[in-house]
C-alpha cells in the first residue's frame, strides 16, 4: 500500500481494516434478504405474461379465462395504467399498452394463491399480436430506413442533459468537438482505425430480483425489494401511478448482489400495479433465473469505431470516436451511459483534438441498464487496445506511450476542464513494476504461449448534477451510536465504511456504531441511489456532517454545563474531555438526559441527534454542440491493471496466471474492502472478457441459464493477485476518499486482450475470448495448423 504524504491528521478508525459490520449475520444465515421476509399465508404470488416477439403491436388481450381460474385473485394489463416511467427519459409503460418492444416485455400480470396457479393463469391469457419488423442492430437502427420504435419520442418527458432525436431511434446523441481532428491527421506519424463489437452481458447477481408489494385501502403502497435505489423507486413509481411520494414506502433489506441491475426501477413497478388490484394482500414477484437473464436490465451492447493518431514522439494528437449503443427497447439509464462514454471518450489521456459521436439507439433487444462501470468497460475495451497498437506502430513500449499521454494533475480533459490532483501516473508505474513489465517468463508447457498486457482507465460518477445524500446519527442511553443512511450495502461494504466514518468524526470506537437497517424510505434519510461508486464519497460526506453535528451538540452542551470554551473540549473514545480542566464524562451520561446546569437548578441539552447532508454544488452543463464545459463531473477515479496469462495452443484456452491492480482511491477508509473491490471487479471483468455473452438471435436470448451462460467459477481465477492502493486525496471527499466499486472491472478486457496479443499476436473484434474463438483465430492466422 502506498500512502501519499499529507498534513491532515487521520483519526482512527479511518484507514483501518475493520471487520465488516454485516459479516457475522451473513455467515450464520441470519442476514435478511427481501425473499426471506415471511408474509404468512395471506401472501399472493405474481407471475408475468411476456411478449414472445421482439416487436409487435398488441391487437387484443383476453384475460377472461385466466380470471375465471380458481385461486386467481387479479389479472392486470396496461389498460388501466397509462402513465410512463423512466429515470432520465420516460419512455415505457409499466405494462405494455399498444406495442411490445422486446422478447420479455410484460403484457399482463397475475396474482394467485400459489405460483403454480399464477403460472397456469398465464397460459390462459390470449394475446393477439401483429408482428412488426424489428431493429436488431444499433448501427442499422440509426438508418432512416429503420422501423421507428418510439414514434412518440418527441412527447416523452426527458432530463435537460439528454438529447433525443424524435423521428429516429436515437434516444440520445452526445457530441464532443474539441480542437479540429481533420486538420491534424496529416501530421500523424501513425494512425490506428478499428471497429469493436462488445456483446450484451448480464449482471448475474446471485440473488434474483424480487419485489413484494402491498397496497392498502387508501392507496398507500409498501414495497419490499432487493434494491439499490429505494428512494428513486419511491419517486419514479409514485410519479408513474400519479400518487404522492409520501404514499409510497420502500423497504430494502440486504441486496444479494446488484452491480447496477437493481438500480432505478426494473420489475418492481409490476408488483405494485398487480398488488393494487388486491388491496390489503402482499403480492410477491420473484424472477426466475431465466427471467433474470433477459427481462431484468442487461449491459448494453456496443459497436465502437476508433480512429486515433500520434506524432513520432508518441504524443497523441487526435481521436475520432463513434459509439452506437444497443440500448434495447427502453432506456432507463442507457441515455446517460451514452453521455458518460462521450464525456470520457478520450480515455484517461490528454488529447488536444477529439471528435466523438455517441448514440443511444433503440433496438428490439432487452432493456439496457447500468452495469458496474457504466459504459466504461465497453468503451475502454477497444480504446486501450488501440493505444497499444499505436505504440507498436511507432515502435514504442506501450507503458512508455501511456506514461507520455496519460492524464496528470492539471491536464486539459476532453471536455475542456482541468484534471484535479490525480495518481494515475503512479498507478501506471506501480502496476508495470509489479507485473515485471519488460521481462518474459517461459511458458509452463511447450504447447503454451505466455503474454503480458496492461491497460489504464478512468471513470467519473455519472449522475445528475444535484444527486444528494443525507444521514443522521443518534446516541442511545449507553452512548452507542446508530447511524441512519439511505444508501445500500450491496456487498461493497458501504455500511462498514459509514460506521468507520461516523466513529471517526464523532470520537467513539467503531464497535459502538451500528447502521439503522433495513433502509426504509419512511424512516431512513434520503439517498439518491446506490450507484456510480458515489456512496463512500457522497453518503460519506453526509455521515461525517451528521456525526460532526452531533459532536457539536455534545461539545456545546458540555461547554455550557462546565462553563468552558468548546475549543478546549474533545470527544475521545466515547468520553467528552476537557484539555483545560481535565474533567471528563462518558457520552452515555449525557446522550439522552443532558446535564444539570452549572448552578444545578434545571437541565441542559436533550437527546442528541445529528443531521447532515451533501450535494455537489459545482457541476455545470456541457455545450450540446461541443461537449465542452467548466466541470461536467464531480471527480474521476483512475487506475491501471496488468495481467500475465497463457494461451493453450492446442485448445485456445486462456489461463490468467497473475493480476495486478492499482487504483487511486483518494483515501482508503478500509483498505481491505478496497482490495476486495479490486479483486472482485477484476474477476467480473475477466469473466466478461473470457466467457460472457448474451447470444441474441432475432431478439431471443439463446442461453438464459447458468449452463449456457457461463460466469467465472472458483477454478477459473488466478490466485496471484497484487492490489495497490494509491492515495491522492479528493478535495471534497471524506478524508480525501473517492469511489472504487466499479472501476476495478473497467480495464480488465483490454488488459487481457493486450496480453493475448503479446502471447500469440492476434486481436479479436470483441469479447468473449473463448477457447473456441481464440483457437479459430490462431488457425486463421496460421499460428496453429
Amino acid at each position: 500500500m502506498v500512502m501519499e504524504e499529507t498534513n491532515t491528521r487521520i483519526p482512527s478508525p479511518i484507514g483501518e481494516n475493520k471487520i465488516r459490520l454485516d459479516a457475522r449475520e451473513k455467515v450464520t444465515g441470519a442476514a435478511l434478504y427481501a425473499d426471506d421476509i415471511q408474509f404468512g399465508s395471506g401472501l399472493l404470488h405474481a407471475r408475468v405474461k411476456r411478449s414472445p416477439h421482439p416487436h409487435a403491436r398488441i391487437i387484443t388481450i383476453d384475460t377472461s379465462k385466466a380470471k375465471a381460474l380458481p385461486g386467481v385473485k387479479a389479472v392486470v394489463t396496461g389498460e388501466d395504467y397509462p402513465g410512463y416511467i423512466g429515470l432520465y427519459l420516460l419512455d415505457r409503460h409499466i405494462f405494455c399498452r399498444d406495442k411490445v418492444r422486446y422478447v420479455g416485455d410484460p403484457v399482463a400480470g397475475v396474482a394467485a394463491k400459489s405460483e403454480q396457479i399464477a403460472e397456469k393463469a398465464l397460459q390462459l391469457i390470449d394475446v393477439e399480436y401483429e408482428v412488426l419488423e424489428p431493429v436488431l442492430d444499433p448501427e442499422a437502427g440509426v438508418s432512416p430506413e429503420a422501423p421507428l420504435l418510439h414514434p412518440d419520442l418527441e412527447e416523452y418527458e426527458v432530463a435537460n442533459f439528454i438529447s433525443p432525436k424524435p423521428g429516429t431511434n436515437i434516444s440520445n446523441h452526445f457530441k464532443i468537438r474539441k480542437g479540429d481532428v481533420e486538420s491534424v491527421w496529416d501530421e500523424c506519424e501513425a494512425l490506428v482505425e478499428r471497429k469493436y463489437r462488445i456483446p450484451h452481458i448480464q449482471h448475474v447477481p446471485i440473488e434474483p430480483h424480487v419485489a413484494i408489494a402491498k397496497v392498502n385501502e387508501t392507496g398507500e403502497v409498501t414495497l419490499w425489494g432487493s434494491s439499490q435505489s429505494p428512494f428513486a423507486q419511491r419517486n419514479l413509481i409514485a410519479k408513474s401511478l400519479g400518487i404522492s411520494q409520501s404514499d409510497m414506502r420502500v423497504i430494502a433489506p440486504y441486496v444479494g448482489g446488484g452491480f447496477g441491475s437493481k438500480a432505478g426501477v426494473s420489475m418492481e413497478a409490476l408488483a405494485v400495479v398487480i398488488a393494487s388490484q388486491v388491496k390489503g394482500r402482499p403480492v410477491k414477484l420473484l424472477l426466475t433465473r431465466e427471467e433474470e437473464f433477459y427481462t431484468a436490465f442487461v449491459r448494453q451492447g456496443l459497436v465502437a469505431y476508433f480512429k486515433m493518431g500520434c506524432d513520432a514522439n508518441g504524443r497523441l494528437l487526435a481521436m475520432e470516436n463513434k459509439f452506437f449503443w444497443d440500448a434495447g427497447a427502453y432506456t432507463e439509464y442507457g441515455v446517460n451511459i451514452t453521455r458518460a462514454s462521450g464525456y470520457s471518450s478520450s480515455g484517461p489521456y490528454e488529447v488536444p483534438n477529439v471528435k466523438t459521436d455517441s448514440y443511444c439507439v433503440y433496438t428490439n433487444h432487452p432493456v439496457g441498464g447500468p452495469m458496474r462501470g457504466f459504459g466504461m468497460p465497453e468503451m475502454h475495451a477497444g480504446l486501450e487496445q488501440c493505444i497499444d497498437e499505436l505504440a507498436g506502430d511507432i515502435d514504442m513500449d506501450p507503458v512508455e506511450f501511456r506514461r507520455i499521454n496519460c492524464l496528470k494533475t492539471g491536464s486539459v480533459l476532453v471536455t475542456g476542464s482541468k484534471m484535479h490532483p490525480i495518481g494515475l501516473p503512479q498507478c501506471l508505474e506501480k502496476t508495470a513494476d509489479a507485473i515485471d513489465w519488460g521481462s518474459k517468463a517461459p511458458p509452463s508447457a511447450p504447447n503454451k504461449k505466455r503474454g503480458k498486457g496492461i491497460a489504464l482507465m478512468w471513470k467519473a460518477p455519472a449522475m445528475p448534477p444535484n444527486a444528494g445524500s443525507s444521514a443522521w446519527v443518534e446516541l442511545a442511553e449507553d452512548g452507542t451510536l446508530t447511524v441512519g443512511v439511505g444508501g445500500q450495502d450491496i456487498g461493497q461494504g458501504a455500511f462498514t465504511v459509514a460506521a468507520q466514518m461516523a466513529a471517526a468524526a464523532l470520537g467513539v470506537p467503531y464497535e459502538w456504531v451500528r447502521i439503522a437497517t433495513p433502509v426504509d424510505t419512511l424512516y431512513s434519510p434520503y439517498e439518491w441511489q446506490t450507484v456510480a461508486s458515489r456512496l463512500t464519497w457522497s453518503m460519506g460526506n453526509a455521515v461525517v456532517n451528521a456525526a460532526k453535528d452531533a459532536r457539536r451538540q455534545i461539545l456545546d452542551l458540555v461547554a455550557e454545563a462546565w462553563e468552558e470554551d468548546p475549543q478546549n473540549l474533545d470527544i475521545v473514545n466515547g468520553i467528552a474531555v476537557s484539555y483545560k480542566s481535565e474533567r471528563e464524562i462518558p457520552l452515555k451520561d449525557i446522550a439522552i438526559y443532558g446535564l444539570p446546569k452549572p448552578d444545578d437548578q434545571g437541565w441542559l441539552g436533550g437527546p442528541v441527534r445529528g443531521r447532515g447532508n451533501f450535494m455537489p454544488s459545482y457541476i455545470t452543463g456541457l455545450d450540446p454542440e461541443t461537449g465542452q464545459g467548466e466541470r461536467a463531473v464531480v471527480h474521476y477515479t483512475t487506475g491501471a491493471q496488468a495481467v500475465e496469462l497463457e494461451v493453450d495452443l492446442d485448445t485456445g484456452r486462456i489461463e490468467v496466471l497473475r493480476a495486478v491492480s492499482a487504483f487511486d482511491v483518494g483515501r482508503a477508509i478500509n483498505p481491505e474492502l478496497v482490495e476486495a473491490q479490486m479483486e472482485g471487479g477484476f474477476v467480473q471483468g475477466m469473466s466478461s472478457a473470457l466467457f460472457e455473452s448474451m447470444q441474441l438471435k432475432d431478439g431471443v436470448m439463446q442461453n438464459p441459464s447458468f449452463v449456457d451462460y457461463r460466469i467465472a467459477t472458483s477454478t477459473d481465477v488466478p490466485l496471484d493477485f497484487e492490489n495497490i492502493i494509491v492515495e491522492v486525496p479528493q478535495d471534497d471527499g471524506p478524508w480525501g476518499a473517492r469511489g472504487i466499486g466499479e472501476h476495478s472491472m473497467v480495464p480488465t478486457i483490454p488488459a487481457i486482450a493486450n496480453a493475448i496479443y503479446d502471447a500469440v499476436g492476434i486481436r479479436m473484434e470483441g469479447p468473449p475470448f473463448t477457447a473456441e474463438k481464440i483457437y479459430l483465430a490462431m488457425l486463421d492466422a496460421g499460428i496453429v495448423k
Partner: protein, 154 residues
C-alpha cells in the same frame, strides 16, 4: 396433490412435516421451517446458493424433493454454529474478507464444511474444485479460498 408426512433431523432437531409431493427441500426449509439462510439463486441446481448437507453430503436443495428427506439428517448454514460459537470455516471466511453481498455465502460455507469433513488438509486445488458449484459474483473467490485454507489450518 398428495401430501406425505415425513420425519427428519434438521440442525440436530427432530422435525415432522406434511408436505406435497412436488415440494423441494429448499422450499420446505425456507417456507415451512423459516430456515431462510439457505438461498434460492436459480432453482435449477447450477448456482449452489441452496447447498445443504444431507446425511453429510453437500446437495443442491432445490433439486432434492422433500419426500426424499424422510429419515435424513440435514444441516443448513444455521446449523454450522453452536451456542454462538462460529464454525472454524465461518470465522475464517470473515477474517479473510471473503464475505461481500453474502448471498452465496451460506452455500459456500456448507460446501467448504463438507470438504473439510472429508479432507481436513485440502490443497488450493482441492478447495477450488470443491467450490466450483458455488457461484459468487462479488468476491472473485480469492478470499474465500484463503479462508477455507485458514480454516483447515486451525
Amino acid at each position: 396433490m398428495a401430501f406425505h408426512r415425513i420425519t427428519f433431523n434438521v440442525n440436530g432437531e427432530l422435525e415432522q412435516a406434511d408436505i406435497p409431493s412436488n415440494m423441494t427441500l429448499l422450499k420446505m426449509l425456507r417456507e415451512n421451517l423459516a430456515l431462510t439462510g439457505t438461498k434460492n439463486g436459480c432453482a435449477e441446481g447450477e448456482c449452489g446458493a441452496c447447498t445443504v448437507l444431507m446425511n453429510g453430503e453437500p446437495v443442491n436443495s432445490c433439486l432434492v424433493l422433500a419426500v426424499e428427506c424422510d429419515g435424513a439428517e440435514i444441516v443448513t448454514v444455521e446449523g454450522l454454529s453452536h451456542d454462538e460459537q462460529l464454525d472454524a470455516v465461518q470465522q475464517a471466511i470473515i477474517d479473510a474478507g471473503g464475505v461481500q453481498c453474502g448471498f452465496c455465502t451460506p452455500g459456500i460455507l456448507i460446501s467448504a464444511r463438507a470438504l473439510l469433513d472429508r479432507n481436513p488438509q485440502p490443497s488450493e486445488d482441492d478447495i477450488q474444485t470443491a467450490l466450483v458449484g458455488n457461484l459468487c459474483r462479488c468476491t472473485g473467490y480469492v478470499r474465500i479460498i484463503q479462508g477455507v485454507q485458514e480454516a483447515a489450518r486451525i
